[in-house]
Symmetry: C2
Subunit: 443 residues, 2 copies
């Protein structure tokens, strides 16, 4: 009898939590986000819950309003090296841009992280839509979507070649004879493309996972094409089970079309959580967070997303649909998030005031008990809408503590989540095979 | 009475040691250089000896002959984050290229390392002469020397602006009122230059050292100009006391010409060490290392450096001076190293066989007792040839153990080296002041 399928769970450390008032709750000092120990602590708690990985979003520009919100981020590959040293088994997923990096440097840095972590590294590939990032790299604005994705495709192709450039058994390491490596097993990709020319080989032998795990999160056509072709895991925003099932089917189908085994493409929707022992406690926790914004602040969050001012909105009416342009026309923010929010508002015919309490970072939001969280995770998993989840607690560290101490035991009881780690690498946790080097000759 | 001046000491971890046969001695496994713990161990030993910093050289290309030598390196900013987590006080100096990086990304990564290490980070600025690196970044060969240094100058200028872009007291962090930062203290450099345009600000508040310590090692005119203008410390190859004194005077003079306090530019020559309890033991240790190459291998090292074949050389004669072109015409290797070696051979009228036992990586070599090492360090320090030293042991970990356990106590007895750390940051160790942000208004 084959073992029952198990879900994967990633912990998304979005600053102080996915509620942007989290820093005001005083759980940690206002400069905690600049301290590696803040992240190490969350990672150790997550590891106690045998989660698959922790995840760090990123972008190479100062976003947001520094007057009102903690801004800036430690660079993820560096920060997650610290986290890897503070943990033993949990995976570490760092976001990095294909638009604002060079393949050789980035391939090497992820390979280094994979070596140092003993095979626990993953790269979340992003292309960065915003102009602020572009302006830090000599451009007036972000390159066109199509160009960003063409560059990303080439970037990943090169990166895989560099990671594969040393075969698994290239190192001989015989101190007596003085033979260090077999030069026939160290390959020079000599890549010449439209965006990059990279000779190689990588100046690092192959890392413990062979290739760093690849994660992708784009929901555009370009993003889905790229993700289904190369990614090991897809992070996605899905707000209804039906949408989740549809996306799941689509991505598995796309993977098959690339000649891949669809089981090796893991679909992981996001879930923002506000958890309390009772529903009343959960809502009280959420109210405490929302109260920092007041009515005006909450309405502003909706207004800013749809590109209108608060004064133009009637809080008790639905969104003024005729004044909101097509999602594709928005220059700021995630199109996937905006679309999910607009769909939610339309589907449930929410007033703007109601919507303002349902959106958080843009992912599906659940305010409820550990049982309710476990129910929804189990339901989506068994109903074919997810292979795992990217959990985004409202605030840290209490949000991850509640999840690990109260939700994880329920998932274990129900037989859908591991009781202990069964492998050592992130690939092991995710159930992904070890990838052969593309340069290895079949025996 | 002001305290007696103290020398600074950096430990240069060049793979398995500065003798290229070190990996064959079996002190550590042949893949130890891919394991963070190998470096953490050396750093902890160095910290036991209250050394100022450990240092990692680097280049973004696979150099050397993989058949015969361990090749490739973990990326230094990532690796030194691991080392910082394993230590408390010692500085960590990472080499990175201005020719093959973007200022925004690199400024941010070093700022991250400085935050995570609590103010112990330094950047060793290099421009990378070799073509192999260029070919990993879309170029047929390295840019011209003058262009590399012009780019480096602009790169550093931007980097300092990004590090300064948040003033020291920009963060208010008042969770009660919700005021996170004072926007008037977060500046947008908006740099537009010949090589780069970078808007900023950096997406990280100012780091514990204000600015990461800057190290520079170029001995060309361009390197000396750049180093005297921007660097906090200069790593240099000097093989005689007179040359060392001359270089020291020149760099202090150059610093003064830039309007700097020359005491804030630390001159640190390299010293390769092969240490034994007696001279005989030291030479026996060196012979064991050299024996791995045999006569032919040693001669090859000389031949390769001067661009000739072994067959063209008479081991018992001096170098064929008329067949060796000007140093500036050599495309491979460090011009500083080559010049120092040629000067050594000429000065002492060495045969090629004798020279082959005197060169190692190219820095001054001392094969001798702890007393002899302490003597030379003290002598150079007191004679105005050095503010400190970059120590390059023959092999690890024994080379650093001997240095820390047998040389450091002598230097302490003589009153020229600290008994304990008196500060927490690398700036503290080096005796460098905390730099004000260039954007801070004088009160």
């Amino acid at each position: 009898m084959s073992p029952k399928p198990q879900m994967s769970i990633g912990m998304n450390i979005l600053g102080f939590g996915s509620h942007s008032a989290a820093w005001r709750m005083g759980e940690v000092p206002a400069n905690a986000y600049l301290d590696a120990e803040y992240y190490c602590n969350i990672a150790r708690i997550s590891e106690r819950g045998t989660l698959d990985a922790i995840f760090l979003a990123d972008g190479p520009a100062l976003g947001g309003d520094v007057a009102q919100h903690p801004a800036g981020r430690l660079e993820p590959t560096v920060l997650l090296t610290a986290v890897a040293l503070a943990t033993q088994r949990i995976g570490v997923i760092a976001t990095a841009s294909t638009t604002y990096n060079d393949p050789f440097n980035l391939a090497r840095r992820f390979s280094s992280l994979d070596h140092i972590s003993g095979g626990r590294a993953a790269w979340n590939v992003v292309t960065n839509a915003g102009d602020a990032a572009a302006q830090n790299f000599g451009l007036a604005g972000a390159p066109l979507h199509v160009d960003r994705y063409a560059r990303a495709d080439e970037f990943i192709d090169i990166t895989l070649k560099l990671w594969d450039s040393w075969e698994d058994d290239a190192i001989i390491g015989d101190a007596v004879s003085g033979r260090f490596a077999d030069p026939a097993k160290v390959h020079t990709p000599d890549f010449v493309g439209k965006h990059f020319s990279v000779k190689g080989p990588l100046n690092l032998p192959r890392s413990p996972q062979g290739r760093t795990v690849l994660v992708q999160a784009g929901s555009s056509e370009g993003g889905k094409a790229l993700g289904s072709r190369y990614a090991d895991a897809i992070f996605t925003t899905q707000t209804t089970l039906e949408d989740g099932q549809g996306f799941y089917q689509e991505m598995k189908h796309r993977a098959r079309q690339w000649g891949r085994n669809p089981a090796h493409l893991k679909i992981m929707p996001g879930l923002s959580t506000v958890i309390g022992s009772t529903e009343a406690e959960a809502h009280a926790r959420f109210d405490r967070l929302n109260d920092f914004y007041g009515e005006e602040g909450l309405l502003y969050q909706v207004a800013a997303r749809v590109g209108l001012s608060v004064a133009e909105l009637d809080p008790d009416a639905p969104l003024p649909w005729d004044r909101i342009g097509p999602v594709a026309s928005f220059e700021r923010g995630s199109h996937g998030f905006l679309e999910a929010q607009l769909n939610l508002a339309r589907r449930e015919n929410l007033s703007i005031r109601q919507l303002s309490r349902r959106i958080l970072v843009g992912h599906r939001l659940l305010v409820g008990t550990p049982e309710q969280v476990a129910d929804t995770l189990e339901h989506w998993f068994l109903a074919g809408a997810a292979d795992g989840f990217n959990i985004m607690p409202d605030m840290f560290p209490s949000g991850v503590e509640i999840f690990v101490d109260e939700v994880v035991p329920l998932l274990r009881q129900r037989g859908v989540f591991r009781h202990e780690y069964t492998g050592h690498t992130l690939r092991d946790h995710l159930g992904l095979p070890y990838p052969a080097s593309q340069y290895a000759r079949s025996a």
